[in-house]
């Protein structure tokens, strides 16, 4: 082979690479100290001190302002000292989080890989934001799990069409037994085991959907969205409830073995509509409606237990520097003979005390008289270094939606360094 030619090519590549790849690396280190404490015996510590390290590589190909392609990969290492004391091999979990490649082809963005999708307009109750499974380890603060998918977004003038194709299914990570709620009890000495029956990888169980979103020049800006998604439930089909802010309920079918249950995951169709409007007065209004039918029941007249909807109305306004977000959710489930309804209201207030400190309060109320409150405080110690304190209190009688978890009050201090 012509050596000078090879060398010249290699040199050209070396010279070209820095100009065609604009790559950055960022990372964060997070250390948590969290504890459950019950309301009667505050500080009965169940200590936990997990450590989390995340590294992220991302870059653009071509002109950074108008790239031809973009990529991102995030690796997370999680170490749980409590688990390490009993089962050291299970204490360290390495997981690939978001890891995707995206090509910009004219007005179309094509991406493939582990991705997180955020659909809808509202913040807390998000009935149309269904693409990613959730990790409910701390159910009041669920985290989306990146899903492997193909995604295409058409960016038009004032509108976008977002299509996703999710070939493989992942279920939600369920919370621990302490979150199974008062309605779910097992005989003494018997622990829960799930006989998981996940959807088989087949064309019938492929998940897909799309979202149309348009921005209109009405008032001080209006956004509207229409969503359709054919998915498979990420929680076991239709008996325990757990204390997430939107009170997820899971119904399990027992087997002959005590404590063993079959977890089945239904297919569903979701149709959703959402929107927001910014008014000149400073008020922001948001709404979101998701209607779901399960197990291929009739879309317009579902069988009992196979039709559900959630409607959310939200308002946001800043009073004297205190940002206030209120969200009301009305959940409906087709029943026999009576339909069931659940009404929940959540209020979030937050303010920046100064450039370093911010205070946030989250409160939720259910019409059964139960609720939760969560004061949160964060302080930026230095550039990229932040300390946060978060506490959750569950209030109400032991048979109420949130009150049943009043043994699960929780406090957490975390320190995060991002660079």
């Amino acid at each position: 082979m012509n050596r000078p030619l090879v060398s010249a090519t290699a040199l050209a590549l070396c010279v070209a690479c820095p100009s065609i790849f604009a790559q950055t690396f960022s990372a964060s280190l997070k250390s948590d100290l969290g504890s459950y404490f019950n309301s009667r015996d505050i500080l009965s510590f169940s200590q936990d001190f997990p450590q989390e390290v995340e590294g992220k590589v991302e870059g653009k190909v071509g002109n950074p302002d108008a790239p031809d392609a973009q990529y991102s990969a995030t690796l997370r290492v999680y170490f749980d000292p409590t688990t390490a004391a009993t089962t050291p091999f299970a204490a360290t979990i390495l997981s690939l989080r978001e890891a995707w490649l995206k090509a910009f082809l004219g007005p179309v963005d094509l991406s493939i890989g582990n991705q997180i999708v955020a659909w809808g307009s509202t913040d807390i109750f998000t009935p149309v934001d269904v693409v990613n499974a959730l990790d409910y380890t701390l159910p009041f603060s669920p985290e989306k799990t990146p899903e492997f998918m193909g995604r295409a977004i058409l960016n038009g003038q004032g509108f976008s069409v977002d299509l996703v194709f999710v070939p493989f299914w992942n279920g939600d990570i369920l919370p621990g037994p302490r979150w199974y709620g008062s309605g779910f009890s097992l005989p003494p000495g018997v622990s829960l085991s799930l006989l998981n029956s996940p959807p088989a990888p087949s064309w019938d169980n492929v998940q897909f959907g799309g979202r149309f979103q348009a921005s209109l020049d009405w008032f001080q800006g209006v956004d509207v969205g229409l969503t359709y998604y054919r998915g498979v439930n990420t929680l076991p089909a239709n008996a325990f409830s757990f204390g997430s802010v939107n009170s997820q309920t899971v119904t399990l079918t027992p087997t002959a073995t005590p404590g063993q249950f079959i977890a089945v995951y239904d297919r569903y169709n979701l149709v959703g509509v959402d929107g927001d409007v910014a008014l000149g007065s400073g008020l922001l209004l948001r709404t979101e409606l998701g209607y779901k039918t399960f197990s291929d029941t009739n879309l317009f007249n579902p069988d009992a237990g196979l039709g559900a909807a959630e409607w959310v109305a939200a308002g946001e306004y800043t009073f004297f520097g205190i940002k206030t977000i209120g969200e009301f959710a009305l959940d409906w489930m087709k029943g026999a003979p009576d339909d069931t309804y659940l009404k929940t209201f959540i209020l979030i207030v937050s303010t920046d005390l100064d450039s370093r400190s911010s205070l946030k309060g989250v409160g939720g109320w259910n019409l059964d008289g139960s609720g939760f409150v969560s004061p949160q405080f964060s302080y930026t110690i230095a550039d990229g270094l932040k300390a946060e304190l978060t506490v959750y209190f569950f209030l109400g009688g032991s048979s109420t939606m949130f009150g049943q978890f009043n043994e699960n009050n929780y406090g957490e201090v975390s320190l995060t360094y991002a660079f």
């Binding site: 955020a118 976008s160 800043t318 230095a382 990229g384 660079f419």
Partner: protein, 254 residues
């Protein structure tokens, strides 16, 4: 004619012209002063790097950003700005898009990667007068003002500086802004913000010549509470051809 007399005549003419200009300058109304200020030549597009230092009680936090701007209200165009954060790590990737429309209303959107959604901010004081990423600047300061935002009144002219009071036509976080405008080039060197009759913040600006334009190189915002934020703008690239695609959600997320 001797050389001296020529010089004397030139000097006399210069003095006459200078005195005339000063007399003309002093006769301008507040509206006219601000008209000249807002009609200063602006680049069609600009890209710049910004470093921001927020200081209080001897401690500081920093942010670095890249900003893109386009449009000139004085020419009947919508003014658009996009800012992307490069550092520190906890806010890296965040972005802010704002459009100042011809009627003075503002459309702003915020991209916070951790949230995964672009959030619309309201046009009213409740959102526009909030601190911009913890700094002493507000979202409204970043979007900038247009001439139609205020009613102007000239308060004084001395040392070649105009002092113009600007009262907002629509509710904003301040009832009065006092501009100091240099009569030489009609650039504002200082803005004082009054709230409830008290000086709440003051901003001083220095400029750098970039091609045919005088553009801000340093903006210091000092709050009465004792904190201050210094913004240094550098590496200007002006009049580059970039289209509307910069001022979109798509670009904000990239």
């Amino acid at each position: 004619m001797s050389n001296l007399s020529v010089l004397t005549r030139i000097a006399s003419i210069s003095l006459f012209i200078g005195a005339g200009a000063a007399a003309q300058a002093q006769n301008l109304t507040g509206q006219e002063v601000m008209d000249r200020y807002f009609h200063n030549p602006k680049p069609k597009t600009a890209v710049m790097n910004i470093s921001m230092v927020i200081s209080k009680n001897g401690k500081s936090l920093s942010r670095t950003m890249t900003a893109w701007s386009m449009g000139d209200n004085a020419k009947g165009e919508i003014e658009r700005k996009v800012i992307k954060f490069l550092a520190p790590g906890d806010i890296k990737g965040s972005g802010f898009l704002t459009e100042k429309k011809l009627d003075g209303s503002t459309e702003s959107q915020l991209w916070l990667p951790a949230m995964g959604k672009v959030r619309r901010l309201s046009s009213g004081p409740s959102d526009q007068d909030q601190a911009f990423f913890g700094s002493d600047f507000t979202n409204r300061d970043i979007g900038g003002f247009i001439k139609a935002d205020f009613i102007y009144e000239l308060k004084s002219f001395s040392d070649n500086l105009y002092t113009v009071e600007a009262r907002p036509k629509q509710a904003m976080g301040y009832e009065l802004l006092v501009y100091t405008i240099d009569a030489k080039d009609f650039l504002n060197t200082k803005i004082e913000y009054f709230k409830n009759g008290q000086l709440a913040r003051s901003q001083t600006i220095t400029y750098v010549s970039v091609g045919a334009y005088n553009l801000p190189s340093n903006i210091l915002m000092t709050a009465a509470s004792g904190s201050s934020t210094e913004m240094k703008l550098s590496d200007y690239k002006v009049d580059q051809a970039f289209g509307d695609q910069i001022f979109t959600e798509r670009f904000l997320k990239q």
